[in-house]
């Protein structure tokens, strides 16, 4: 594996941090939002400029400060990190546009604070993506937890504050209580924290200890919302919708699963997990989360809460993919990071657009909304197809690979879990779409005139929906990155 040293990863992380002073000091909203765009585009371009290098199989490395041997603040851009950074930085641009429409549409207060912490959160997300070791990852993981707290509690009312408390309790509680000691124990066992191609824990500890560490890491990164540490996610839905969209469908939760995937592949190594037979344990936890999450989603009336439970279930697809420990399964899991991101963010954008245009939050109040907001609901339909995993959407690709992976790993039960879960997904999404478009006129709750949300809200969700479709026909950027990573891990 070739490596080259470049400051680009650091720049990609810092670019959104550097604009925060400008954001704080700028009084005019236009100036502030223009700068947000500049940073978002700059970040995306920096990430993009590293793509050719990565595709050639070279890794980009940059060390900021070393404080212990093997435990430095260090960046390493590899295929998996690239995949994640690409997803999150491209979606930041779109979300920025959407935020402007949403926040101005609702005349929200403290918009400066909102944009500042959004920028912080993105720095942290890209930081996690490019981390070369557990310490750096933990650093940015915690930074993300703290940066999103003001976003979750944005409304400052009683509900927001109690949700904020729950959010911190789950996220910071598990990271300090489980992930931190697990990291320290690993360091004392192996003398390093540097992610390896086949992990660094192999041969350092007994099976029970490895099992304990696996448990601590799996649940320690509670942003992955693996049950039973999932209930912060529905609670955090009190945040403004763009926050829910980017952070709770893309950045925060994906940082959680990304961390879990990184730890499973880079700390334990798939060979170690396979030889100690820990794959089924991961599969069991992930399958349980998928099924229970989907069932709870069925019973939800609040649209955002439904999406939250759907997210909980979908996140575990990614963990499940890695837990299969077969090349195709891992590929499917990694690609699902991207596919789910584009699909789920569209759904959240739709929920937000509905709220901006009509003030409605509950599904029972959305009968006939398809006539009022046809574009939004069409996008909603496409995105829900992607989540269900049906063509013509990108979600099909990742789910297909997960199914292949489960066959490859001879895990027939997992195949059934995947299929059944798709059925459940359809069961909670399709009625919404159906009743939005095909209700009887007397049932409709809206007048029969087209009145969409502001263009700043609608255009982004159309873009993400279109991308979801394109990803079926052209999944190569993400797919190639994932296969490269899998090749490095499994050596095949």
């Amino acid at each position: 594996m070739e490596t080259m040293i470049s400051i680009k990863p650091l720049l990609a992380v810092l670019v959104s941090l550097l604009i925060t002073p400008i954001l704080v000091s700028s009084r005019a909203p236009n100036v502030r939002e223009a700068w947000t765009f500049v940073a978002a585009v700059a970040k995306f371009l920096i990430v993009l400029s590293m793509l050719p290098t990565i595709m050639k199989g070279t890794e980009i490395v940059y060390t900021v400060a070393e404080f212990l041997p093997g435990a430095a603040i260090k960046f390493r851009v590899d295929a998996l990190g690239m995949l994640f950074a690409l997803v999150s930085s491209s979606l930041w641009i779109i979300t920025s546009a959407y935020s402007i429409g949403y926040m101005r549409g609702l005349k929200e207060h403290s918009q400066t604070r909102y944009f500042v912490f959004f920028a912080f959160a993105l720095s942290a997300t890209v930081g996690v993506a490019f981390s070369a070791n557990l310490l750096t990852m933990y650093l940015f993981y915690e930074m993300l937890s703290l940066a999103t707290y003001p976003l979750v509690t944005h409304h400052q009312d009683h509900e927001a504050r109690s949700s904020g408390r729950k959010y911190l309790l789950y996220i910071v509680g598990t990271s300090i209580g489980l992930a931190l000691p697990a990291m320290l124990i690993s360091y004392n066992l192996a003398g390093t924290l540097e992610f390896g191609k086949q992990g660094f824990l192999a041969g350092t500890a007994s099976k029970p200890l490895i099992g304990l560490l696996l448990f601590m890491f799996l649940f320690g990164f509670a942003k992955a919302a693996i049950m039973p540490f999932h209930s912060w996610l529905p609670a955090a839905m009190v945040a403004p919708t763009p926050v829910s969209a980017l952070l709770h469908a893309v950045a925060v939760v994906k940082v959680g699963v990304f961390s879990v995937v990184r730890v499973l592949t880079g700390v334990f190594g798939t060979d170690l997990l396979f030889s100690l037979d820990f794959g089924p344990v991961i599969l069991l936890v992930a399958s349980a989360t998928i099924l229970i999450g989907s069932f709870i989603a069925l019973s939800q009336d609040g649209l955002k809460r439904l999406l939250a439970y759907s997210t909980i279930a979908q996140l575990s697809y990614i963990v499940l993919g890695v837990g299969l420990l077969s090349p195709k399964g891992i590929t499917g899991g990694m690609v699902h990071i991207a596919m789910h991101a584009f699909g789920k963010i569209t759904l959240f954008f739709c929920a937000g657009a509905i709220f901006v245009a009509t003030g409605k939050k509950n599904i029972s109040e959305m009968v006939g909304i398809g006539r009022r907001m046809p574009v939004t609901m069409a996008a909603f339909f496409i995105a829900s197809l992607s989540i269900i995993g049906m063509p013509p959407c990108g979600g099909f690709v990742s789910k297909w690979y997960l199914v292949l992976g489960s066959l490859e790993a001879h895990q027939m039960p997992i195949l059934y879990v995947l299929l059944f879960s798709s059925l459940l997904n359809a069961a909670y999404f399709m009625p919404i779409v159906y009743r939005a478009f095909f209700c009887r006129p007397e049932e409709a709750m809206f007048e029969n005139t087209v009145q969409e949300a502001p263009p700043f809200c609608v255009v982004p969700l159309v873009i993400t929906a279109v991308i979801s479709v394109i990803l079926l026909f052209y999944p190569q950027p993400f797919f190639n990155l994932a296969s490269m990573m899998v090749q490095q891990i499994t050596g095949t």
Partner: protein, 498 residues
Amino acid sequence: MSQQYPALLVIVPLLSALVISAAGWINKRLCFPIAVAALGVAAYSSIGLLLRVLDEGAIVYRLGGWDPPMGIAYYVDHLNGLVLAVVSVVAFLNLIASKKSIELELPDKTAPFYALYVLQVTGLLGIVATGDAFNLYVLLEITALSGYAMLAMGKDRAQLSTLNYLYMGTIGACFYLLGVGYLYIVTGSLNMVDIANILPSLYESKAVLGAFIICLVGVWVKMAFFPLHAWLPNAYTHGPSAASSLIAPLVTKVMIYVMIRLILTVFTPEFAFNILAISKPIVWLACIAIFMGAILALAERNLKKMLTYIIVAEVGYMVGGAWLGNRAGMTGAILHIVNDALMTLCAFLVVSNIAYKLKGYAFDDIKGLVRKMPFTMGALVIGALSIIGVPPTCGFFSKWYLISGAIQASQYAFMVALLFSSLVNVVLFFRVIEICYYEPFSDDGAHGHGPPSEPMAEAPLTMLVPLFIVAAGLVLVGIYTGDIVNKIIEFAIPQGIV
């Protein structure tokens, strides 16, 4: 000039304390510049001294040219070089920050206050620099007496709280003196290095054991190690802001230094860790201290008092770390002396800024404070992150070493205690942050739009700038932890400890 640093360090502040009290008779406005100059010289020489130690290794300085064991030697190595630098820098920054708050809180006592302040710093620097066990006692009492006087200048219950502190402080110092007496009987020497050379033949002696235990208990009283902590919260809470923000970061930390010095130099690690089988119980005690400190802090509804209980918990961190008996734990304890001094200073400076602008610092008084004092609250957030132990602030890295030490020593209870305390700190500080940022909140349906904005009323720049320096320091020390550990602390711990 640089040869005289160890003497300058102590003598300049000592003499200037006299000068300040004299100058107070002539013109009160002279006092502050003199104090600044004196502590500036102290800070300069302590940093110079640290750099020299890094170059040349340990320095022995004989006061007045008398050789030990007759004369008093000042002995500066990597360990106290580091602590000296921290003490003098913290004292200097706090002095700058305290000017306005002293003028407000003690308008007619500025001259005596500055004299006592400088005297206190003299004592602290002396304790750290001295290589003589009895000299240490005298300096201990100089520190304590000037501390009593400063704390007693506070309002309300300050005098009573200080009197309680005085009882306990005196008992602590007397115990230490008694322990030194036994040591003197068996070794005939008061010089620390000398004692350490004589002791190995006497390890079995009951008197040495007694001396060690008695010294240790004395030092514990002085550092407020649970359950000997009862004097600390009230005394620190009721004192004037400037006094508590000097005493809270430094006195307990310097006492930890004394304990580490007793273990490492006077009684030797061999004796403390191997011959005496008391490491485990002491680490357990430290765990209890951490738990109790955290729980007692939870019960407080007053920012300053809450911070004092956090100090009690932090003392547990350091005592436990030092007694883990391995290199990582000791590194963590020494690193935490540095970090905790800065963290506590940051938190207490915030409190004095609040006290400067508001009538109090109870939770009810600080509602919605962020709109009034955004910069102060920003610094509090950084301080809080460091106390919680979030990277890249320095608090994370000392906790890292402490937990590593706990794992290596198989003292998992200590690890659990540290994690528990981190979690409680999260609760403590986010409660404060919530109150400062989100209260008074409105519950008008789904969209609370917050209260109307209040005009900003920040503390003056002389208070803000030192606070920012400290807050930035928290992050910088965190980032340069590697250098501090590899270049300084690594040499401060004897090779025998692995």
